[in-house]
């Protein structure tokens, strides 16, 4: 395809360009440019999704060389769903961030360049079909995310950023070692070239590579017990940053783990390994939810909720491994739906949380009294996002958990059903802990200020989207199936 306006390359080039330009423009500048560009990226992602539904998955040879000499990009339904999620979360958050940094300027100087590079890294990662190129996108993503955690300065965020940096570097180090072993075995890093080779036979080096790469991704996705870096990083950053990180960044490495598991390393997967991932997911759900319940800081509660919700994503592995195809399909649909629903809901929740903190001037659950009266729309958004996280109908979270429950019952793995139900109850407990406090009257001496309307409406848009996903999720599942029939 030699179309100048082909959406696929532009989805990567556009955020790189505006991120760089925002840096040249100067500290704090570039917000309007970013909003306009992300809107355009959203249109490009929709156009690409339309192309895929019409004519199937696409391969794009950068530079015209083609794998294995050159680097290929690949867009299938799964990639397109993640691209849509990314732009759909980023656009309201960009609007939110403009208002947020106007009210709370700490860390605004370099927010836009970092965000531009972050989005470029995400889009590039979703589209890459080359193991070494994915390594570069992982590093771009990791450094952008660490930079965003550190932008506000201060002891806690800098400590969190340092810990996050070591975790993410170790994760990409493990990935690169895997890539080195695979190149050393077969002589290529192209997914399209490697997949048939690995299916034909994999020596010990490739098994080791698979284990290393998967472990690196789990560390970066913060799956229990590798979650130690996440709560301080997501809980300490400015609210728009926390939202981007929780909604999108950890989903990128989950996406890679899923792709490797289902495609490249499919011949190496075993039921035992899949059950182990499920057990870690279950532990994450329970541990994250319980810790969320014990937090006294609002942002830390939401951050621990992310630890728990990541767990649901990994329930898909035991439900999709060596089971009948129909069961696996619905598990995959459920897992991806969970990624999308959590992305929208968690972005909404962190955005609403940020508004509440701006309004009360402190990050303290016990001092939320009066928020319900002063910021009803924000609290409503928090509640709607909570409905999605609990998995109540008609939200996107409900569809996700329904699909996962269905495949758990079909494959006779009832124990995951128990985990999901307990997790839902715990989620309800920590969401109501916040809501209950916020509905109390304002305590004497506390102050609850109004916040800019853009903060309230952008959080609401995200929360509403997470609910509507449940009602209108069918086209998304149709898109997901593109390129998976074979």
């Amino acid at each position: 395809m030699t179309d100048f306006l082909d959406p696929l390359p532009w989805l990567i080039m556009l955020p790189l360009a505006w991120g760089t330009l925002a840096f040249v423009l100067g500290p704090g500048r570039g917000g309007r440019l970013a909003v306009a560009a992300i809107a355009l990226q959203g249109a490009l992602a929709l156009q690409l999704a339309g192309q895929l539904i019409d004519s199937g998955a696409r391969v794009y040879a950068v530079g015209g060389w083609g794998a294995p000499l050159g680097i290929d990009l690949m867009a299938d339904g799964l990639a397109a769903v993640m691209l849509l999620l990314t732009q759909a979360v980023a656009l309201p958050l960009a609007v939110y961030a403009r208002g947020y940094f106007a009210a709370s300027p700490k860390g605004r100087e370099l927010f836009w360049p970092f965000t531009g590079f972050l989005l470029a890294a995400l889009n590039a990662l979703f589209l890459s079909a080359d193991l070494f190129n994915i390594y570069v996108t992982l590093e771009l993503l990791g450094l952008a995310a660490v930079g965003l955690v550190a932008i506000a300065g201060g002891r806690q965020p800098v400590t969190a950023a340092m810990r996050y940096l070591f975790a993410t570097l170790l994760g990409s180090g493990a990935w690169l070692l895997g890539v080195a072993l695979i190149y050393g075995t077969y002589g290529s890093v192209s997914l399209a070239v490697l997949t048939p080779l690995i299916h034909a036979g994999a020596p010990l080096a490739v098994t080791l590579a698979a284990a290393l790469m998967l472990a690196g991704l789990l560390l970066k996705t913060a799956l229990f017990p590798f979650h130690f870096w996440l709560p301080p990083a997501h809980g300490g950053a400015p609210a728009p940053v926390s939202a981007l990180l929780s909604a999108l960044v950890i989903k990128a490495t989950f996406y890679l783990a899923l792709r490797l598991w289902l495609e490249l390393f499919a011949p190496l997967t075993t039921v035992a390994a899949a059950q182990l991932l499920g057990v870690l997911g279950a532990a994450a759900i329970l541990w994250g939810s319980v810790l969320a319940l014990t937090q006294s800081r609002l942002k830390m509660l939401v951050a621990y909720s992310t630890v728990a919700q990541v767990g649901y994503l990994f329930l898909l592995f035991p439900l999709a491994t060596l089971v009948p195809p129909g069961t696996a399909d619905s598990a995959l649909a459920g897992g991806v739906m969970q990624a999308v629903a959590h992305g929208l809901a968690k972005a909404a929740m962190f955005a609403a949380t940020g508004s509440m903190i701006v309004a009360t001037g402190r990050d303290d659950i016990s001092r939320l009294g009066g928020v319900g009266a002063r910021l009803p729309l924000t609290l409503f958004s928090f509640g709607l996002a909570g409905v999605t996280l609990m998995g109540l109908p008609p939200s996107g979270g409900f569809s996700a958990k329904w699909l996962l429950l269905g495949s758990a019952l079909e494959s006779g793995q009832w124990w995951w059903v128990v985990v999901m139900i307990v997790g839902g109850l715990l989620t309800a407990a920590y969401v109501f802990k916040v809501l209950r406090r916020a509905f109390l009257p304002r305590a004497a001496g506390d102050r609850v200020a109004r916040v800019p309307r853009t903060l309230e409406f952008s959080a609401f848009a995200l929360a509403l989207a997470s609910i509507l996903l449940g009602l209108f999720g069918a086209p998304l599942l149709e898109l997901l199936a593109v390129g998976r029939e074979a």
């Binding site: 940096l165 570097l169 050393g184």
Partner: protein
């Protein structure tokens, strides 16, 4: 055994040394050194295994050049964070690893 494979084996040892240092050393500066050693180990494996049949392979060589630049970028960011942490806490180690009253080794 080709010389290239020998260097790949050395790379495996360097990776393990770096990994152990990264996990075991509490001092941030040493963690940064360990990360760089770990990275060098991976680079040796990439080129060493890529050339194990004795042919020079420019593809992994180019990848390592990319990797070296990424490594210095990460190192610079890590050092900036470590210095900032030193300014804020007076320590060059992450808080949990710290036996509280003990000053950084120097």
């Amino acid at each position: 055994m080709s010389a290239a494979l020998l260097y790949a084996l050395a790379g495996a040892a360097l990776f393990a040394i770096g990994l152990a240092g990264l996990l075991l050393q509490p001092h941030l500066l040493r963690k940064i050194l360990a990360f760089n050693i770990l990275g060098s180990g991976v680079f040796l494996i990439l080129v060493g295994l890529g050339q194990r049949d004795g042919t020079i392979d420019p593809v992994p060589q180019a990848m390592v050049l990319t990797g070296i630049v990424v490594a210095i970028a990460a190192t610079a960011l890590a050092l900036a964070l470590a210095r900032q942490l030193l300014d804020l806490t007076g320590q060059m180690r992450l808080p949990e690893d710290r036996p509280d009253a003990e000053p950084a080794d120097d």
